[in-house]
Structures are given as structure tokens and as C-alpha cells.
Symmetry: C2
DNA sequence: CTGACTGCAAATAGTTTGCATGACG
DNA sequence: CGTCATGCAAACTATTTGCAGTCAG
């Protein structure tokens, strides 16, 4: 288990949740994966080392982690959601290739000014945002013109 | 049928698609609705004046309109997609209330600079983006503290 | 020990597809 | 009149729920 996954494990326990082998493996899978992962993808990945795990457990664990704010959801334009580890201090957004699905993180956008203005204008209590750019990555541009 | 819906109807015909009563009603529903609408919501709305329409037709029409770039998808944080009319010159984003689901449009954010930088850094050919702010609207803040 | 967690199976929701009939242009 | 669109039903995919057995703490 790598550093980030270990930290999460501690956090889980602090909040009174149990740390089961299944959760451990799922955490590893999400923490290791540099890509975004759909529930099904996590399932596949996890089944290799824990063959009789259920997809249900993936869903339940994802729900738990989302509730704790440890992972975040990505809407890759299409039908299904995928999930990424949210590193605490590292607020980031995504750049998604519409051909191959690659996700690149970036942090360079500061939206606090816009957020403030919106909040003033609308009276909303804004607590988060989602920013995704869509396009085609370099390799997809060369392979399929 | 209001102005915008009429314009779309013309556009449809220009591209060789037929203008059926069903499509007309669906267009009206989306154009009139100031809210975002889920496929199911469109279905409900449309059934009032065209009682034997099928949900399937909604999906097919939505697909068509998305393909033509006339409507855009919103991911309201939760499970399902909803759709809004995309007024041609009016590039906008959404501010969504996580309690009641109200969607407020705004246009004040200029991301072209960020987009350019990202494009330079990553080699992506960026063709669009999705920006959503999440929060609680004024009335939800007062009703449920 | 005990309550929380898991896995199975079945239920539910959302979306898509196949096909015969019907209607736009 | 031919072709594209519709509506029904059924298939599919993604996700959730009920329940009895199992395990972490």
C-alpha cells in the first residue's frame, strides 16, 4: 500500500469505519491508478488480487469514499461516471481526450474570483465546482485525422 | 412554437431531417423550459399535449439534437443527465443547487486564456469545456440550515 | 462477542435496439 | 411512393437493495 492509501486507511478508521481487506485493495487500486476509473474498471483491477470480491462492494466503497470527500467524480462526457483520488491540498481539474479517454490533471486555473462574483450575484453558497476540458490528445490527433 | 424552436426546426429541415409533430413538441418543451430537463421530465411534459408519444422518441430526438450541437448536457452531480437548449452565441455555464436542483446560467467566465495555456502544455486540441459550480441557493439556505 | 461488512441474487432505473406500421416531403 | 420516424416490447447496462453468513475490532 502506498503512502496516500495508507493515509486514507487511517482516516477511515478515525471515523469509525472498519478497514477490511476489500477496502484496502480498492483503495490501492484507486490510489495507484493514474487514470480515472469507472466502477467496472476498479472491479476488474481489483479482482486480479482478490478474485471473489463483489462489484457491490466497489459501489459501496466508492459511496463511502465520496461521502468522506476522498475521491471525486468525473463525468467523461458519456454515460458513466468514473472516480479519481482527490489529494487533499491538490485541487485539480481534468482535461479529457474524447477519443481515447485519457485524463490529464491540471491545477492552473483560479476560479475564486468568478466564484465570489457568482456568489454575490445569485446568493448561492458555493461549495465546489467541476471544470473539465474536452479535446483530443496529441496521439489521437496524429493517428486518426 | 416560439422563435428559437422555429429556428431549430428550420435547421433540422436544412440538414435533411424530417420535422414530425413529435419532434416539434419535444423542441417546444426544451425551448420553453427554463430549467434543465431530464429525458424523463421532457417525456412527462410532452405527454400532456401528445399523449401517446414514446419515451424512446425523446431519447432519439435528444440524440439528434445533441449531434447537431443544439442542446447541451448537464451533469447535475447526481446520477442522471439533463439537457438544455444551447442558444448559439450564448456560451454559458451552470450553477447548480445541490438541494433543490435549480440551475442558474451564467456567462461571465472567460476560460480562453486557460484553454490556450493547457493546449500549449499538453498538445491537446481542445474543443470544449464544462464548468459547473455547486452550492446551495438562497432559498435552500434559509429553509434548511 | 457484536455490529458493521461482504457477497450473492434479485430488483430497479436509465438507455438502447429490432421490427412492423405510419407519415413527411 | 420511398424513406425516414415512430411506438411497442424486449434487451441491456449501470446501480441499488434485501438478506444471511462472516469478520474486524
Amino acid at each position: 500500500m502506498n503512502f496516500t492509501a495508507k493515509k486514507i486507511a487511517v482516516l477511515l478508521r478515525q471515523r469509525g469505519y472498519k478497514l477490511t481487506p476489500q477496502r484496502r485493495v480498492i483503495l490501492d487500486a484507486i490510489a495507484d491508478g493514474h487514470d480515472h476509473l469507472t466502477p467496472a474498471a476498479i472491479y476488474e483491477k481489483v479482482k486480479r488480487e482478490h478474485s471473489n470480491i463483489g462489484l457491490v462492494t466497489i459501489y459501496r466503497t466508492i459511496g463511502l469514499l465520496t461521502e468522506l470527500g476522498l475521491i471525486c467524480e468525473v463525468h467523461s462526457g458519456g454515460n458513466c461516471r468514473s472516480y479519481l483520488l482527490r489529494r487533499p491540498s491538490e485541487h485539480h481539474h481534468h482535461l479529457i481526450c474524447s477519443d481515447c479517454g485519457t485524463v490529464v490533471d491540471f491545477t492552473s486555473c483560479d476560479l475564486s474570483e468568478v466564484e465570489q462574483k457568482l456568489s454575490d450575484d445569485t446568493g448561492f453558497d458555493i461549495n465546489g465546482h467541476l471544470l473539465e476540458f474536452l479535446g483530443r490528445c496529441r496521439s489521437c490527433q496524429t493517428t486518426t485525422p
